[in-house]
């Protein structure tokens, strides 16, 4: 891989992996998660998340039978929680791509312990995101109309000028490439699981999934080239997906939506929320499966630094938006921002500021960056804040636009809440299944960042 060269630990660096494990130790420690009976925590968590997933199925069934009127969407707030949730989940996914693609190209070796789980999280988050626009169409069985393929039902040609159309392409490309990246990266580890398998079924399933991997030099050479190429392909996707999601809003002329800073601002926010989710999940996983020596405090601290950096970028964007609202001399623009901080949804924006801008500032201090309880709390607070950010952008701009006679108010219904809670359940269920059946840490990559048995640098 491209980062082979700097894998040689420098004398001044603290080792990334603690306890000086051997290659065999790493294989065993990671495979153990999949091979042994899951701990009690796993069953309890699956019961809860599984129940929520069933709730999701129930609500969606009711929604399809009745119509999206069961949600609180109204006129003028035609987009509300559904699009908020869509942007929220898409954003969560970004950490995975950033870690697997951009940090790889930046030769950040610490990514190796967390990239697998983050990539899995990306895929599950995009799946959750997909539910919302699909259901918002009201007739999900006609979803193929979104694709430019001939359809018999009516003479319909997709509106390529609509950013919602661009979303379809951006998100499906993103999903495909993320899935490929995840899977290709996993092949050597699947082969490890196959080789260690003790039951016929495991041998068969992992054998099929590992595509005949034998670990020969030729395999590795092809694998590393493919990985580098996929990293290169994924890098623009980190920027493009959320930029296009931001276009959904920014191409309009609605005050509070139409801002040229939206693309990079959305991307920073996405990475911010994604890392918060990785921190939340990793804190639990490393504790439950005793992986603290592989996902060390150094990893956690680095993620906290990224949280601080991206949270501050998000804060910068808020500031620039507010400044420009006043600076522009545009009375509508100005009103929207005054309304955001003082209007009926003011509580939401102050929650957002507190969660996204102020909470991560704790991470200026090393003490907090290395405290598991603090980072666990902040990571959850950040995701609450990022959900509210999307809610603010969407609802406060829509509920009061140019004409006071067409102003309105949005109140969520129980179905809004249940759909969102259900999507959280689906996400967690998929993640728990991932923990159960697939290697949670990239075994072969972590082996690359520990000193080789000969004692002479990386492998």
């Amino acid at each position: 891989m491209a980062d082979l060269a700097i894998r040689q630990p420098l004398p001044l660096e603290t080792p990334l992996i603690e306890g000086q494990p051997t290659y065999g130790d790493i294989s065993r420690d990671v495979a153990r998660v999949v091979e042994s009976r899951p701990p009690r925590f796993w069953y309890i968590a699956l019961a809860v998340s599984g129940t929520l997933t069933l709730v999701l199925l129930g609500v969606l069934t009711h929604l399809v039978r009745t119509g999206i009127g069961i949600w609180g969407n109204n006129q003028p707030v035609g987009w509300a929680w559904d699009i908020t949730n869509f942007v929220f989940w898409i954003g969560i996914g970004h950490a995975g791509t950033l870690i697997s693609a951009i940090l790889f190209l930046f030769r950040q070796r610490w990514r190796t312990s967390i990239n697998r789980a983050a990539e899995a999280m990306t895929i599950f988050a995009v799946m959750c995101a997909g539910i919302f626009p699909l259901m918002h169409t009201g007739r999900p069985w006609r979803a193929y109309w979104l694709f430019p393929i001939p359809n018999q039902d009516l003479v319909l040609w997709q509106n390529f000028r609509s950013p919602l159309m661009w979303d379809v392409f951006a998100v499906s490309t993103y999903f495909t490439v993320s899935l490929l990246f995840w899977y290709v990266g996993m092949i050597p580890d699947l082969a490890t699981l196959r080789d260690r398998a003790t039951t016929r079924i495991r041998q068969l399933v992992y054998g099929l999934l590992s595509l005949g991997w034998r670990g020969s030099a030729r395999h590795w050479s092809h694998y590393e080239k493919a990985y580098l190429l996929l990293a290169g392909l994924s890098t623009p996707l980190v920027l493009s997906v959320h930029s296009i999601v931001s276009f959904d809003f920014a191409v309009s002329i609605l005050p509070g939506w139409h801002a040229t800073i939206f693309p990079p601002y959305f991307v920073a926010g996405a990475i911010f929320s994604g890392f918060a989710m990785v921190i939340t999940l990793m804190i639990i996983a490393r504790r439950v499966y005793r992986l603290e020596h592989l996902i060390t405090m150094t990893h956690m601290e680095n993620m906290c630094k990224i949280l601080l950096a991206t949270g501050t970028i998000v804060g910068y964007s808020y500031a620039v938006e507010f400044f420009t609202a006043f600076f522009s001399g545009n009375p509508y623009e100005r009103y929207v921002f005054i309304n955001r901080v003082t209007g009926p949804y003011a509580w939401a924006i102050w929650t957002m500021f507190a969660c996204n801008v102020f909470a991560p500032q704790l991470f200026w201090f090393r003490m907090f960056r290395r405290s598991i309880p603090v980072m666990f709390a902040v990571s959850i607070i950040v995701n609450v804040g990022m959900w509210f950010e999307r809610f603010n952008i969407i609802v406060t701009s829509l509920h009061r636009d140019f004409l006071p006679s067409s102003w309105g108010h949005f109140t969520p219904t129980i179905y809004d809440v249940l759909t969102f809670a259900g999507s959280v359940g689906l996400f967690l269920t998929l993640f728990l299944l991932f923990l159960r059946f697939l290697p949670v840490i990239a075994i072969s990559e972590v082996k690359g960042v520990i000193p080789s048995p000969g004692g002479k640098g990386g492998h």
Binding site: A5, I6, L10, P236, L239, H258, T260, V320, T324
Partner: protein
């Protein structure tokens, strides 16, 4: 996997300083250019203040944005503990410290405020229009100048402190310098971003007093970061040609610089596209005015040139690994990008001065040489006062030995 014995090491006998005769020659050339150019600038100021100030602002911003880029990179390298770039760090810092003379060079802009900026005329913003209350409070000469002093002070302090810390490291307190540099870099980056954004709004965006774009600060900053990497490549190549650096900067480092050049070319294009596309799509007259001016007369061709020259060409060239590792190709691309950065600033600033079309003026040459020679002199004097690589950094050997793949 190369072992540490087979790669270039910092050589104890090598001083990493310029040969005195070479340095003198460079200094003499710079002084001659400076004197001639400033004489021409003074003549321009006296006879054609309007054109002079337009060209002057372009070239002042040209070197200033590069200084911002340098500050940004120095701090980012500290914060990420990057190893590969240690061997380049002193050159980065020497470019960074050129921000020092900006304080002086801002004077013509301050003195020519009423010529350059339409809003500086009393009563420009209708005093009876409540929507313009913020603009009236924000854009008036005293407040504008106070802000400028704040920016200049902040940049001066940041550049000076970071430079100082690095130089102290040469004398041997490695760990302390590293932690000092990191302590300054994190808040420094934040303060730099805020001041750069505000300076972009004040000095460039306000040339069109009613136009606004939230991404503008990021746009100016990204152009500067790109131009800085381009200049760094050229400086390193020039020193290499003069045989002044031994082999501490290898093709591996150029390859990585080439990757940065590529990444920032794409980043600049991403920001420029975001700004253009969103304004074009929404089609609001108060926003499209900016691009309308730049589609008028020969400005249209400059706009198109930026799409092709600032993005497409370098993008296609730098995609290839071989190009990034070929020093001639890399050098030419870097030079081309610097020209394009100049064109970008022409495109941002001069449509307010020459609304009907792009044309080069003799004052463009004079102001470029004037501002550039002063930046060059600061660079040149600083370059002599310390070794050209951070010899006190214990990671230097690892940095020199850096390999891609």
């Amino acid at each position: 996997m190369p072992t540490t014995t087979s790669v270039p090491q910092p050589q104890a006998a090598f001083s990493y300083r310029l040969e005195e005769s070479l340095w003198r020659r460079g200094r003499n050339v710079l002084w001659i250019i400076a004197l001639a150019a400033w004489a021409a600038c003074l003549f321009g100021w006296a006879t054609d203040r309007y054109n002079f100030l337009g060209s002057y602002l372009v070239h002042f911003m040209f070197f200033l944005t590069i200084g911002w880029g340098a500050m940004f990179f120095v701090m980012v390298q500290h914060l990420t503990s990057a190893t590969w770039s240690i061997t380049l760090r002193r050159l980065m810092e020497t470019i960074m410290i050129t921000v020092a003379p900006v304080t002086l060079l801002f004077l013509p802009v301050a003195l020519g405020l009423d010529v350059l900026y339409k809003w500086a005329a009393p009563g420009f913003f209708d005093p009876h229009n409540p929507d313009l209350a913020f603009k009236r409070a924000f854009f008036n000469p005293p407040f504008f100048l106070i802000r400028a002093v704040v920016y200049l002070f902040v940049w001066g302090v940041l550049a000076f402190v970071l430079y100082r810390i690095s130089v102290t490291q040469d004398e041997g307190n490695h760990q302390e310098s590293i932690s000092d540099a990191r302590t300054w870099s994190a808040p420094g980056l934040l303060v730099l971003t805020i001041t750069v954004t505000m300076a972009g709004v004040d000095w460039v965006m306000s040339l069109d007093p009613f136009w606004y774009s939230t991404i503008f600060g990021v746009y100016v900053f990204s152009g500067g970061a790109l131009a800085f990497i381009a200049l760094l490549i050229l400086v390193a190549l020039a020193l290499r040609a003069a045989g002044a650096l031994g082999d501490v900067i290898t093709v591996e480092h150029y390859h990585d610089l080439g990757k940065w050049l590529f990444a920032l070319t794409v980043w600049w294009a991403y920001i420029a596209f975001s700004q253009y596309m969103l304004i074009w799509y929404a089609n609001l007259p108060e926003e499209t005015a900016f691009f309308h001016h730049r589609a008028e007369g020969s400005w249209r061709y400059l706009s198109l040139l930026l799409v092709v020259g600032h993005f497409l060409l370098p993008f296609l060239v730098l995609l290839s690994r071989a190009a990034k590792r070929n020093l001639t190709v890399l050098g030419l691309t870097a030079a081309w990008i610097l020209v394009m950065h100049g064109m970008d600033l022409h495109w941002l600033i001069l449509p307010s001065v020459h609304p009907h079309g792009f044309h080069l003026h003799w004052l463009d040459v004079a102001t470029f040489a004037g501002v550039g020679s002063l930046f060059g002199l600061v660079f040149w004097y600083r370059l002599r006062s310390h070794p050209m690589v951070p010899v006190g950094d214990l990671r230097l050997a690892a940095s020199i030995a850096h390999q891609n793949q």
